[in-house]
Symmetry: C2
Subunit: 340 residues, 2 copies
DNA sequence: CTGAAAGCGCTTACAG
DNA sequence: CTGAAAGCGCTTACAG
C-alpha cells in the first residue's frame, strides 16, 4: 500500500541501504545514483516514514510543551500563544515538531510528565509556568531529562530557564511612576506562587528605597496573578480608605479592572491616579485611556526557550543555562500626569 | 541502557510475546503470569516505547492541530487557546497526543501539511481557520486524509466540520438591538475571507428584513476580522456623517475600539449608541461599559472537533459529519438603552 | 495459556 | 561507491 524504501530500492535496482543513504544525502553515494533514486521517489510519490526513522535513529525530533494550570485563566492570556509562536518558529527551522499538553491538576501533570519522559516520544520539555515549588522540576532533574522553564524558577542555578528580568521590570515601572509625581504607589496582584509577581514587587521596593519613599505594606495587595479581579483588588484598597496617586498592576488585565473601579468612584486616570500594567496585551493601546505597560517580548521568550532546550538535548557536557530577554517600557496616557 | 520488553521477558522467564500480551491485558494470558510480569516491570522501571509500538501497530495516536495565519492577530485571540483546551481535554481521555503547527504563509502551510500527512506521524488533522478557498482542503480530500475543520467551510457538505450557527448568532444579536430600540444598526468588521463574518452578516440582514428595516449598505463596514481596527472602522463611519443608534462588531476586540471612538466623539454607550460584540472575551464583562456579546463555547468547539476527527479516523464507512455548537447571547450594559 | 518467527520501515556498522 | 545483515522495540498471525 504505502511505498517504502524497499519499493524504491527495487525500482531503482539498488539496495535499501543505498536508498537510505541517498535520502540522507550521504557523500558516499554517487551523484548519478542519487539522481536516479530521487527521480524514482518522485515518480512513486515516496515519503520517508518518520516513525520508523525515529526508531532506528533513536531520536524523534519532537519536543513537548507543557502548559500548566489551564483551568485557571492563565492559558487564555494573550502571551501564551505568543510564546508558542516563538517556540514553533525556531522549532520549524530546526525540523522539530511540537507536542503540546495542557495540564489542569497536579495529578494529571504527574501522569503526563511521566508519559512524556518515559515513552520515548519526546526529546525534551519546555515548561510554561513559573510556579514556585513545582514537584515536576526535581523529578525531571532526577531522571536527567532535558527541560527548560519559561519563567525564573526558585532554584535558578540548577535548571535551564529563560525569562525577562522581572525585578528590573518592576523597578523601571515604579521609577517611571515616581518620575511622573506619584509617591504613594499601590502594587496589585502579588501572588506568592508566582516568582514573576514576587520579582516585580522586589523591583518596586528597590525603586521606592532608592527614592527615599517609605514602604507602605497597606499599598501592596495580594491576588491571583492573571484573573479578572483587578476590579476587586482596587476596590479592596479604596474600601480601606486608601486612594493612591499611582497604581501598578501585575498584569494589564488587572489594570483594566482597577481603572474601571477607580472610574466608578469618580477618580480619573491619569489625572487623579496614574495606572500601569505589565505584559502589553493587544488591547492596551486601544483602552481608554491607553495603558502604560511593559512589552515582555513573549515571542522571544518562546524562541529562546526552544534554543536552550535544543542545546540541552544536543550538548554532551551538561550545564545549566539561562537567558534573559530584554523588555520595553511603553509609556501611554494612563500614566501621563499633568506637568510630567 | 533503557529497559525493553526483552529484558522483562528474560527476568520473568517468559517470551517477549507474553510480555507484550500482558501489557495489552490480553485475556489469553493467565492472571498469575500477568501479575508476575507487572511486578517485574515495576521493579525494573519499565515503560513501553511508543515509537516502536506505533511502528508495529501502524498507528501513532497522534493528531495534528493546524493553526492558520499566525502572523495575523488571530492566533492571539483568547478563543484559540480555549479551543485547544477543548481538543486537549478529549484527546487526553482517548489517549491521543496533539502535535501543534502554526503556519504563517501559504508556502509554509503546504510544506507542513505535506509533512503531517505523508510522514506517518499524524493520524488526522484539526484545522483552525475558516478561511474561504483554502487550497489545503481539496488536497486533504484528494489524498483522503482524515481532517476536521473548526469553522464552517465553503464546501460544507463535503468535509467534516464543527462550528456555531453564525447566521443565527448574527440574527439573534441584531434582533436584540432592534428590541432595545435601535433602527439604524451598523455592522463592523465583515471580512470576505472569513465565512464566520459573512454568516453573521447574513443573520443581521435576516433580522432587519423580518422587522421591516430597510438595509442600508453604508452601515456595513468591511475590515479585518480580528484586529485592532475597531476604532478605525467606527471612525470611518462617523467621518461619513453617519451616527447609528446601534453597532454590532464582528468581535469584542473590535467593539472595544468602536466604543473608544464613540466616546471620543462625545457619544455615550449605551445611551446614545448601543454596542455589541461577539466571542465574549474574558475582558468583556469588565469593560466600561460591560459589553453585550455572544459566548461561542470555544472549549466545546475544540472538544467536539476532536470527537469528529476521531470518528473520521476510526470509521470504516466514510461520511461527512458536522456538529453545531450552541451559543449564548450575553446581554450586558453596553446595549441596555433606557426604556428597554 | 505460551512461544518462535516474521514484520513494521527505517539506519548503520561492517565488509568489500 | 554499494550491499547484506543486524538492529531499533514493539505486535501479532501462526502453531502448539
Amino acid at each position: 500500500m504505502r511505498v517504502t524504501i524497499n519499493d524504491i530500492a527495487k525500482a531503482a535496482n539498488v539496495s535499501p541501504s543505498t536508498v537510505s543513504r541517498a535520502l540522507a544525502d550521504s557523500p558516499r553515494i554517487s551523484k548519478a545514483t542519487k539522481r536516479k533514486i530521487f527521480k524514482i521517489m518522485e515518480e512513486m510519490n515516496y515519503y520517508p516514514n518518520v516513525i520508523a526513522r525515529s526508531l532506528a535513529r533513536k531520536s524523534t525530533n519532537i519536543i513537548g510543551v507543557l502548559v500548566m494550570g489551564t483551568t485557571e485563566k492563565a492559558f487564555q492570556h494573550p502571551f501564551f500563544p505568543e510564546i508558542l509562536r516563538g517556540v514553533a518558529s525556531v522549532a520549524y527551522k530546526n525540523e522539530y515538531k511540537i507536542l503540546i499538553s495542557s495540564v489542569t491538576d497536579m495529578d494529571e501533570q504527574r501522569k503526563i510528565v511521566n508519559d512524556l519522559t518515559q515513552s520515548g516520544i519526546t526529546e525534551g520539555l519546555l515548561i510554561l509556568s513559573s510556579g514556585v515549588n513545582d514537584p515536576t522540576i526535581p523529578y525531571l532533574k532526577e531522571i536527567q531529562f532535558p527541560f527548560v522553564i519559561v519563567g525564573r524558577p526558585d532554584n535558578e542555578n540548577e535548571v535551564n530557564w529563560v525569562d525577562n528580568d522581572n525585578v528590573s521590570i518592576g523597578y523601571q515601572m515604579t521609577r517611571h511612576l515616581i518620575e511622573v509625581g506619584c509617591t504613594d504607589i499601590a502594587f496589585l496582584g502579588v501572588d506568592k506562587k508566582f516568582m514573576v509577581t514576587l520579582d516585580r514587587l522586589k523591583g518596586y521596593k528597590m525603586a521606592l528605597k532608592e527614592n527615599n519613599i517609605p514602604l507602605n505594606e497597606d499599598l501592596i495587595v495580594e491576588g491571583k496573578f492573571v484573573d479578572d479581579t483587578g476590579y476587586d483588588l482596587m476596590k479592596k484598597l479604596l474600601d480601606r480608605g486608601i486612594v493612591p496617586s499611582g497604581v501598578i498592576a501585575c498584569d494589564d488585565l488587572l489594570a483594566f479592572g482597577a481603572i474601571k473601579c477607580l472610574n466608578e468612584k469618580g477618580l480619573r486616570v491619569p489625572e487623579d491616579v496614574a495606572v500601569a500594567g505589565f505584559n502589553n496585551v493587544p488591547l492596551s493601546s486601544y483602552f481608554t485611556p491607553p495603558l502604560t505597560s511593559v512589552d515582555i517580548n513573549a515571542f522571544s521568550l518562546g524562541a529562546k526557550g526552544f534554543e536552550l532546550l535544543l542545546n540541552s538535548i544536543k550538548s554532551e557536557v551538561k550545564s545549566f543555562n539561562r537567558a534573559i530577554i530584554p523588555f520595553q517600557l511603553i509609556v501611554r496616557e494612563s500614566t501621563m500626569k499633568k506637568g510630567s
